[in-house]
């Protein structure tokens, strides 16, 4: 068995303090790009703004998760207000949810732009609106986060009942409902199969199967892959928010998120794979770099599955 670096020594608080800037500052950058693109009527820049939005939505996942890990590590320390952290965490969870919606709509915009040659106005406006809302919520979360170490700056109420926070309510359902966890697991398995099938078809085409088929004709399958990915993001977040302590110190979980980030970047690349999607006559053939990317894609998805399934065995979860 390969030696997996211990992550109990890994300082999540530092990583969180680094990653937590991505959703806020990233949103400002993306909103700026949208504004410039609209003023200049630059369709290429609109696509860049949508790509940046998707990338921020991806990075919001480790930003949220390292925050939860930092909370679990810090809560026993003196001088830390439990309520301040929980308030920050709850607002961040809302911000994360808005951010994922923005990322999803941005992805639909990118996908549609490939089909119709340009981004639909409705999708563009929706992306910008969702991004603006998520920025506002994330900025509030950032503000509340600052109060954790500097209570003198803010007006956070000293104590609130822990059970009234959203994260606690989700956790309560995850732990106490007899069917919620098994149902979420089942959906997680259905979602992974759906994503796998679509990625298998597209990657095999890059690697040489279905050679006569124009790449563009496979495009209609991508949203099914995204559907599987979305189902697994929702159910996966339910597991994580439901029982965070099962995951934060687990090395297979850490690697699973690393592989998921690579897989997500790969999915974005596949979505905007211009030279391939432009092929409507079956004339495109993959270069060595394209084939390497297809191999990496299959590898990271299998690796993410491996790490997830191995949570109880390599790690200590459940």
């Amino acid at each position: 068995m390969p030696d997996i670096p211990s992550i109990t020594s890994f300082n999540y608080t530092h990583v969180h303090l680094l990653l937590n800037h991505v959703p806020t500052i990233g949103s400002v950058v993306a909103l700026g790009l949208f504004i410039v693109a609209l003023i200049r009527r630059d369709d290429g820049l609109k696509l860049v703004a949508l790509e940046v939005t998707f990338a921020i939505a991806l990075l919001a996942l480790p930003a949220y998760m390292t925050g939860v890990a930092a909370f679990q590590k810090m809560r026993s320390q003196p001088g830390i207000s439990d309520t301040a952290i929980r308030l920050h965490q709850d607002v961040a969870l809302f911000g994360f949810t808005w951010m994922e919606f923005a990322g999803f709509i941005a992805w639909v915009g990118l996908w549609q732009a490939r089909r119709h040659g340009r981004v639909g106005r409705g999708l563009l406006v929706t992306s910008i609106a969702l991004l603006a809302v998520s920025f506002a919520v994330m900025a509030r979360a950032a503000n509340l986060g600052g109060d954790i170490r500097h209570p003198e700056l803010g007006g956070t109420p000293l104590t609130m009942d822990a059970a009234q926070f959203l994260a606690s309510k989700i956790s309560n359902v995850a732990v106490n409902s007899p069917w919620a966890w098994p149902a979420a697991e089942t959906v997680h398995f259905l979602g992974l199969s759906l994503s796998f099938g679509v990625l298998l078809a597209i990657n095999l085409r890059i690697l040489g199967a279905m050679k006569r088929v124009p790449f563009a004709d496979l495009h209609r399958l991508l949203p099914w892959g995204m559907l599987g990915f979305g189902l697994n993001l929702i159910t996966g977040m339910f597991f994580f928010v439901g029982q965070p302590r099962q995951y934060i110190d687990s090395s297979p979980f850490y690697w699973k998120i690393v592989f998921l980030m690579i897989a997500g970047a790969n999915f974005l690349y596949l979505t905007v794979f211009r030279k391939a999607w432009a092929d409507t006559r079956g004339a495109w053939s993959a270069t060595g770099a394209d084939k390497t990317m297809a191999f990496v894609s299959m590898f990271v998805w299998l690796a993410a599955l491996y790490c997830g399934r191995m949570l109880p065995f390599i790690g200590k979860s459940f």
Partner: protein
């Protein structure tokens, strides 16, 4: 009962069930899940094509699905037998397990008429008969039911 007890007492069964090695139960189980992803995913992609998504792609271009399905079915047969052997007396007498196996067999059975249809389709054939579409719907539903029944075994039987 005698057979199941014997099966469970084989050295291989005992190894899968009791060895602390990562290569025993954990790896066998993970390979079973990977096989599931490829098997069901490849089947679903073809089913979606039959139902009209990516309708510009000729059916004959989807022949790669069948080797992918055959390999993953083989992986899951082998890993499935190993997992069964490891706790033969438990699985062999559990009604939910019987349902899961029946659903897997039914799902795999839907692949047969679909396979025949796709392999016999013309090189540029795009249109799909309504009976093939009905098989595609049956295939999607049957695999979803099989996965559901399989995942819930962890709660209904082995909980």
């Amino acid at each position: 009962m005698g057979f199941l007890t014997w099966l469970e007492s084989l050295p291989l069964s005992v190894w899968v069930h009791e060895s602390p090695s990562i290569w025993a139960q954990p790896t066998v189980m993970t390979m079973h899940t990977m096989g599931m992803g490829v098997l069901v995913g490849a089947s679903w992609v073809l089913d979606l094509r039959l139902l009209g998504f990516s309708r510009k792609i000729p059916l004959s271009a989807f022949r790669w699905v069948f080797p992918a399905v055959a390999i993953s079915l083989l992986v899951n047969l082998v890993t499935g037998i190993l997992l069964f052997m490891a706790r033969a007396t438990l699985w062999g007498t559990a009604f939910p397990f019987l349902i899961k196996i029946l659903l897997v067999v039914a799902s795999a059975a839907t692949l047969m008429p679909i396979r025949t249809y796709v392999l016999q389709s013309g090189p540029e054939q795009l249109e799909v008969s309504s009976s093939a579409q009905r098989w595609a719907i049956a295939s999607i539903a049957a695999w979803a039911a099989a996965i559901t029944a399989g995942r819930l075994l962890a709660y209904t039987v082995a909980g």
